[in-house]
Amino acid sequence: MKPRGSPIMRYAAPLKAAAQRFAFLMLIAGAVGLIILGKADAILVERLRVAVSDAFAPILAALARPIATVDNAIDEVRALVALRAENERLRQDNAELRNWEQVARELGAQNRALSAALKFVPRGEERSITGRVIADSGGAFVRSLLIDAGARDGVAKGQAVVVGQGLIGRIAEVGEVSARALLITDLNSRIPVVVETTRDHAILAGDNTDLPRLLYLPPNLALQPGTRIVTSGDGGAFPPGLPIGTIASVGEGGPRVQPFANWSRVEYVRIIDYGLKGILGPLEPAPAQPRGKHAVHQ
């Protein structure tokens, strides 16, 4: 303990308390300032976020790995137990898929013939980058994921993020070695979509619930639950036709969509680089070869 009661201490203590109070108020003001700057999309705040995410990405990646390993081991055991039933199901699936393959081949041939007849310009080349999820959204008010692939792997803002079954979000922030994906269920997510059967365009808007809503559909459109919703490709870097989900309910407040993706177990994601080279080419030369460690599939 420090000696109390000396003449210096008598003046120093209140001064110190006042300085502390002032510093505290400055910090509060700093936090409010950050909120306002962040809301205004200041580049400075984004740089700060990206730098911190990049710095912590290796630590998070190291922490996520053992948990995933344990989880996989449990899955292995479960799969062994269910082997017979699984086998039977796969045999049926296989038979069904062979039929579909036949249909797809016929359609492919027809498509080639018709495209050639119409001199159709094929759409741009698609690349996909695989990344591991290293951080879940920690909180009740955001729906996002941190992925351990960044600019050096060819990830860019606005790219579509998909898992096996369908679209889960888009890239919102990109660092050198990490990127943040905003999920389609987030409050701020707006994705241009199209109803697969009727080709009606709409916006898929998240509202922090599990079932995002469809906005701006034509009035008097009778949607059946179960109808597939896919990306429309309107307005940029999204490829058209990515599956998102099916209509879950057509209640008040507009139809809601049940995403195909299983949110609870997203371990790896694919980031689809649809390429906007045609538009951005002269301004921003595309990286010749991504140097990253991540698998890049052409």
Partner: protein
């Protein structure tokens, strides 16, 4: 007895415990667990840490450290920048001023205090988040998060207290 430099280093490392452990908790709270929906209702470990240290050792978790902690949580969890920062600072400020009634009291008193502080903090968080979004955000996940935070608090307090006994007895 240790020599001067070694003692100083040892002391500094020990005094770093509250902040370092809090940072670890924030990082752990965003690590994806294979539990459906866990990421949405993960207990607010940073809130527990700030509450505990603001009462027991505010000198070792000063306001700038709380600021850094909140900012880290905002960035790693993808929340709007400054939101957790503001909430944690407010909790810290309130508890640092009101710490005397809690010092040396049994655990039940601390927990009772937390039963008041945690709902207030999560409500403030929801309020700020809704104001920022410009609309009312559904709050049921926040409610589950609150329940989990209250349920986890005794365990974390036990860890904090064990750490305090192990590392901070002499200083």
């Amino acid at each position: 007895m240790m020599s001067g430099l070694a003692f100083q280093l040892d002391r500094a490392a020990r005094r770093l415990f509250p902040f370092a452990f809090s940072v670890l908790l924030v990082v752990l709270s965003v690590v994806p667990l294979p539990v459906p929906g866990y990421g949405l209702v993960v207990p607010s470990f940073a809130l527990m840490a700030v509450y505990y240290w603001a009462i027991h050792r505010p000198d070792l978790l000063p306001a700038p450290a709380v600021f850094a902690l909140g900012l880290l949580e905002d960035i790693l969890s993808g929340a709007p920048t400054g939101l957790n920062t503001l909430v944690l600072l407010l909790v810290y400020g309130a508890m640092r001023n009101q710490r005397r009634p809690f010092l040396g009291k049994p655990f039940a008193v601390m927990w009772f205090g937390f039963l008041v502080v945690a709902p207030a903090a999560i409500f403030a968080h929801w309020l700020f988040a809704s104001a920022l979004a410009g609309r009312i955000i559904p709050a049921h996940t926040a409610f589950v998060q609150l329940l989990l935070t209250l349920a986890f608090y005794p365990w974390l307090t036990w860890l904090f207290a064990a750490g305090q006994r192990a590392f901070l007895r002499q200083s």
